[in-house]
Amino acid sequence: MQLESMYQEIILDHYRNPHHKGLREPFDAEVHHVNPVCGDEVTLRVTLKDVDGEPVVKDLSYDSLGCSISQASASVMSDLVIGRPVGEAMRISQVFLDLMKSRGADVPDEDVLEDAVAFAGVSKYPARIKCALLAWMAWKDATSQAMDRQGEVRR
């Protein structure tokens, strides 16, 4: 059965015990993203801080309703992104996006993706790719909004 290749133990763990879940204050930007095909949704907040002139993700909080893949992906993402400089986190998100588009062909880089390598099997099921990407897309949107606002403040 192929099920185990997609639903790795890591994913089921994150699904049952999602990390960093819940909406927290203060925050710099909040977004609400939806997958219209299935009704999965996520509300996501981002707080940035300045470290030596570089923006760093201070906190990422979220609330979401959705399938095990979308929930686990949000949880894994929060582990990867919190505390990282925005630039580095954006690069990780691109690596993850490439993995999702690979149709099972890519060998995932555990050094870069850590727990997110568990989602490699999802790329073989095109219908579930959007599930894995929902939270990442929301985070990118929230972060770029937060950065825009910071830019305005500085001006």
């Binding site: 059965m1 192929q2 099920l3 997609m6 639903y7 089921l12 049952r16 095909v37 299935c38 009704g39 999965d40 309703l65 959705g66 399938c67 095990s68 893949i69 979308s70 099921y125 579930r128 599930c131």
Partner: protein, 428 residues
Amino acid sequence: MTAATEYLNVEAIRADFPALTRTVRNGNQLVYLDSGATSQKPVQVLDAERSFYEWHNGAAHRGTHLLGEEATDAYEGAREKVAAFIGAQPGEVVFTKNTTEAINLVAYAMSNATVTGAFPGSERFRVLPGDEILITEMEHHANLVPWQQLCERTGATLRWLGVTAEGRLDLDHLDDMITGRTRIVAVTHQSNVTGTVPPVADIARAAHEKGALVIADAAQSVPHQPVDVAALGVDFLAFSSHKMLGPYGIGVLFGRAELLEAMPPFLTGGSMIEVVRMEGSTFLPPPQRFEPGVPAVAEAAGLAAAVDYLTGLGMGNVAAHEESLTAHALDTLREINGVRILGPDSTKDRGGAVSFEVQGVHPHDVGQVLDELGIAVRTGHHCAWPLHRALGVQASTRATFYVYNTHAEVDALADGIRYAQRFFGARQ
């Protein structure tokens, strides 16, 4: 996995459907429980469409050569068959792309009547600011969004009937909800989520008493139960070929003759005109007025073959077969701890769509497990997002039944759900 019920010889029927012989994931035989999304096709339909292209293909209603004549006969012959199937006159059957386009046709005819008033008698279709459009919370988006948009275009107010916890229409305040300002009442004839069959004839009577038009979304009813437009008393009715064993790309709008006579067109162009001058054009009588462009004749030939196939089975038998499957599904799923069925718990006024929640397992994940077992269902909100909110559910898993499904396939569904519960460690 085949059986004959007292209503249909399912084994013989399945032999007509090549798709049902497929193996899918993990070498499993296909168990197709998604006919509510689209139905599989019998060879008779495929042969009719192919044969048309091979031997009779010409552009209908144009020119004077033999192939054109044969194509016209095929198209108009299909129209007559479809009309007889629903108890209408051929002139009351308009071919569209699908149900969604058919409903949009009426909605746009109404706003077009409001803007131009080009047709005598089209005043009755006008929608003015402060007028009302009445729909329900049970609707598929196809019979919801076009009415929202009509209100946006005209300044009318959208109102809606609610849904009870049992998944029936809340008709307690029907007489208050239809007012002297209601222009049209749009209601489903059979819910694609809960299978609920609202009392459309009663609703039509109440609407007509106040001078309102009535349109029924019959996408899930015409394929699955005998439908007679006179008995329903509706002014308009819409359905799709691809949900009733026919090809994609063709659907039907039924409209009462005197209404179509007075209705402005929606899409314009060739085929629907009478005289065209640079200064202006006039339009043909119905149904041609509503059929612009070259007609989808091959698809009409396929639909005609689908109507023949269903007529051969007998729609009463089709409905009885599905009721038997639905009853078995309700009984079997009710036994599974942690499964909540949406909608009515009996087959009374309830057709063959069974949507359910599995506690602790999201529909996507249920659907994924079932897919691995070869079972095709639908997951999500099934283009009925407000209905899901009204039932207090984010999303659901849906199984739908048709002429080629068996009791054993229902059992396979139940086994698959139990497997999904075990896999995800959900409470059983």
